[in-house]
């Protein structure tokens, strides 16, 4: 943290103030608006849902009622279209309906007295007495009875006190007064522990009321349906008809459910007392039984004239919505926290790097270049800034080291320069003294030149004598060369003759081989002759002597040929040696001849050079004269050199002054460079480099 800057002015403070704070404000505003909109939307949605679900439930109940009425209408139809009067057949149908439909608790048909004209017949086959009412009218009532072995009991219809015969009189009255032949749905009642509802319909033949048909059906399905709907909507439902509950999903009276009880005696009475708005609309009323405000939806079931009432406390709706809104708010807060932490991280990192760069800059400003490089990761501009500062630090350190080394060297050099200049001045002074000595030497050269001229004249005379001698020698060498070429011809001739001799010797040697072979054959012949003579015994003795003589002659011939062979070989060797010698001699002769010619040519060259030398000698003499004049000029030049040396000494003093000034400037430069502290290791490395 830089000293003396309030936090809101620092880089981190600015980033938080200008980046993080606005972001948080905006996010919170968005979340607030969204929450409000969501609240309203959800309320609307729940209200619509309540209405639509109610309507759907009503429709379903209506469908079920229509189905049950369909049963009754089918019974009536079968009576009207031909079954009327067939009592046995009708009984079988009723029993069958009861057996195949478990939700049906009772099925019955009642004829007007003697409507089919069979009342007088009484009980007959297929029509037991139980199926007949007073006067023998057809009045059967099939109902479920667990006590009976078949589970089903047949008995005559009776007017109970509970309904007052309304189930028969009401349809008859409706048809006869208003001509309405529709089904009637009676109030529910409890039978065998099950809630039952009755459907009754008039049987009409030829425009006349002749009887009724009816079914008792359990309300279990309606109750189940209401319970399921109540769970789904989280609301209380009530089904009511003619001031009596058919089904309900809540108990509020002494632990019994509201079903099949009178509305007027229940706590719900006030709700139902004031009447209702239009079907399928939502109203808000204060329910005294709950002690709070409720949504109320009502709808009428067309078939049977039932009414469905749905009650849902507003507090339940509010609880649902507040849960959703709270979830939204939590998500938003987490988002804000993440944004703040990310932005803060970036801001802190940036401010750290800027602070690092600042510390390097402050150090460099203070003249300290020894600091190590600050390590930094990342590739953004702030990282590059820190790296650039590091590089700048290193480069500055190198430059200052170089300046220091250079100024040291420069100081040494300027000192050397001053010394050299002073020395030069001294030398120039002494050079002035030397010029006098040079003048004396020049005079001596002049005298020597005269002496040299005399010597050249003597050499000239000697050379002329030598030229004469060379001419004489050349003549004699020419004569020798011609003798030598004659000798060369003679040796060649001798060589040819010697080769002829060698050929002859070779011929002799082949003859000797022949003689040797003959001698050998002769020897062999004598041996064989001796052998033959030996075999001839005494008779061959003389021949043996002859053979021995022949052998001796052959041996002598062999010895003689050996001698000849040896002599011929010696002769051949001699001739070969002679030929070789002659060849070598001829080669030497040719070499000698060419040497003599070369000597003669050399002598001629010498004579030519002599003549050229004679010309040079006279030039030398002329040169000597001009040399004397040159010496006088040199003397004058030496005097000028002495004056020049004087001037050099003066300028050397000037140079020494300038060198002193340079060394002063270098001292100033070194002082300036010493302001910076440099890592000596780095400086040394730089020098070594």
């Amino acid at each position: 943290m830089p000293r003396g800057i309030p936090f809101r002015r620092t880089l981190l403070g600015q980033a938080l103030l200008l980046g993080v704070l606005p972001a948080v404000v905006v996010v919170l505003a968005i979340v607030g608006v969204n929450a409000m909109r969501a609240w309203n939307g959800i309320v609307t949605r729940i209200e619509k849902e309540l209405v639509s679900e109610t309507a759907a439930a009503v429709k379903e109940i209506d469908t079920r009622n229509a189905r049950d009425i369909g049963f009754v209408r089918m019974m009536v139809l079968s009576q009207e279209t031909g079954q009327f009067g067939r009592r046995a057949e009708t009984l079988r149908m009723l029993e069958r309906i009861l057996r195949t439909n478990p939700e049906v608790y009772a099925a019955y048909i009642g004829y007007e007295p003697n409507a089919d004209g069979q009342d007088a017949a009484g009980a007959q086959a297929g029509v037991p007495a139980n199926a007949l009412g007073e006067g023998g009218r057809f009045y059967p009532y099939f109902k479920r009875d667990p006590a009976s072995p078949t589970g089903i009991v047949l008995e005559p219809l009776q007017n109970t006190e509970q309904d007052g015969g309304l189930w028969y009189e009401l349809p008859k009255e409706r048809f006869e007064r208003a001509g309405i032949a529709d089904a009637i749905v009676t109030k529910p009642y409890t039978y065998l522990g099950t809630d039952i509802i009755e459907y009754v319909m008039p049987i009409v033949r030829e425009g006349r009321f002749v009887g009724i048909a009816g079914l008792d059906i359990a309300l279990t399905d309606a109750q189940k349906q209401l319970d399921a709907l109540a769970d789904e909507l989280d609301a209380d439902l009530f089904l009511e008809t003619r001031g009596q509950f058919i089904a309900a999903t809540t108990d509020v009276t002494g632990g019994t459910r509201l079903r099949t009880s009178e509305v007027s005696g229940s706590p719900m009475a006030p709700l139902f007392a004031g009447g209702f708005a239009r079907d399928a609309t939502l109203t808000k009323v204060f329910d005294e039984s709950l002690g709070e405000e409720c949504y109320l939806v009502t709808a009428t079931v067309p078939t049977g004239g039932w009414r469905l009432v749905v009650r849902k406390p507003t507090s339940v709706v509010a609880a649902e919505i507040s849960g959703l809104v709270a979830l939204n708010l939590l998500t938003a807060l987490i988002g804000v926290a993440v944004i703040v932490s990310i932005l803060s991280y970036g801001a802190v990192r940036l401010s750290q790097r800027v602070r690092a760069a600042e510390s390097i800059a402050v150090r460099i400003a203070g003249g300290d270049l020894t600091g190590d490089a600050v390590a930094v990761r990342g590739a953004d501009e702030s990282a590059s800034l820190v790296r650039a500062m590091n590089t700048m630090n290193a480069d500055l350190a190198n430059i200052v080291s170089a300046v220091r080394a250079a100024s040291t060297r420069l100081a040494a050099t300027s000192a050397q320069l001053a010394a050299t200049t002073r020395e030069q001045g001294a030398t120039a002074s002494s050079f002035g003294g030397s010029t006098a000595q040079i003048a004396a030497a020049i005079r001596e050269i002049s005298a020597t030149g005269d002496e040299l001229l005399r010597s050249v004249q003597a050499v000239d005379a000697g050379a002329r004598r030598t030229a004469d001698a060379a001419a004489a020698g050349r003549g004699r060498l020419d004569a020798m060369a011609s003798s030598m070429s004659r000798l060369d011809g003679a040796t060649t001739e001798i060589g040819d003759r010697l080769e002829v001799i060698a050929e002859k010797a070779a011929a002799i040697s082949s003859v000797v081989v022949t003689i040797t072979k003959v001698a050998e054959q002769t020897n062999l012949l004598s041996v064989n002759a001796a052998i033959e003579a030996e075999k001839a015994g005494e008779a061959g003795y003389g021949f043996l002597v002859v053979a021995r003589e022949i052998r001796r002659l052959a041996d002598q011939t062999a010895v003689a040929t050996l001698d000849i062979e040896r002599m011929v070989r010696q002769m051949q060797e001699s001739v070969a040696a002679g030929v070789t010698d002659m060849k070598r001699f001829a080669a030497e002769m040719r070499t000698g001849t060419s040497d003599a010619k070369r000597v003669a040519n050399d002598l001629a060259g010498i004579m030519n050079e002599m003549n050229a030398a004679f010309a040079s000698f006279s030039e030398v003499q002329r040169g000597m004269a001009s040399q004397a004049a040159g010496v006088a000029q040199i003397e004058e030049a030496v005097n000028q050199v002495a004056a020049g040396a004087q001037q050099t000494a003066t300028s050397a003093r000037e140079s020494a002054r300038v060198a002193d000034e340079v060394s002063h400037s270098v001292a100033v430069l070194a002082d300036a460079a010493s302001r910076f502290t440099v890592d000596e290791r780095a400086a040394r490395t730089d020098k070594e480099r």
């Binding site: 041996v527 001796a530 052998i531 075999k535």
Partner: protein, 165 residues
């Protein structure tokens, strides 16, 4: 008796002229296939093929050096080594290759003081030894010269004895 001298391994040996048919210069001969070491091959003696035997191998075990003085000594063997039906006694004629032939000379190998020679199996051709002015000389019984070779006795004697294919 008349003898011819020859040398094997620096020692002098005498050949009886009575046993010799003739002496020939060395002529070309052809290798005779696989056989004993001393059998150099066959050579053409005026139209008849005759075996050529190396005397050096038999006497000393070293092959005779071929030089200018080398000769072939033609003789008959006591035993008939080959098919006796051959004409002109060719069955037992052989040529002995010797390094040289000197003589003839007259020497007596039955004179008093002569050494009768050593009798041992495998060398029936070695005869008595005498001394003359040039040193010791031993007589070779040339006609029995091949009898010491055991291999020879197992060779087929006649073409008729060869197994027919």
């Amino acid at each position: 008796m008349q003898v011819l001298f020859t040398t094997v391994g620096g020692r002098r040996f005498a050949l009886d002229c009575a046993e010799i048919l003739e002496v020939l210069p060395v002529v070309a001969h052809l290798p005779a296939g696989i056989g004993p070491k001393w059998l150099l091959g066959l050579f053409n003696l005026r139209g008849t093929l005759v075996p050529l035997v190396d005397l050096g191998v038999i006497v000393d075990g070293t092959p005779t050096t071929m030089r200018l003085g080398a000769r072939i000594v033609v003789m008959r063997l006591d035993a008939e080594l080959f098919d006796a039906t051959l004409p002109d006694g060719a069955a037992n004629r052989v040529g002995l290759l010797v390094s040289e032939i000197i003589g003839p000379f007259t020497r007596d190998f039955s004179q008093p003081g002569a050494h009768p020679g050593f009798a041992f199996a495998g060398a029936p051709h070695l005869g008595p030894t005498i001394a003359d002015d040039d040193g010791l000389v031993q007589l070779l019984r040339c006609r029995r010269i091949l009898e010491g070779d055991s291999t020879l006795r197992e060779l087929p004697r006649s073409a008729a004895e060869w197994p027919q294919p």
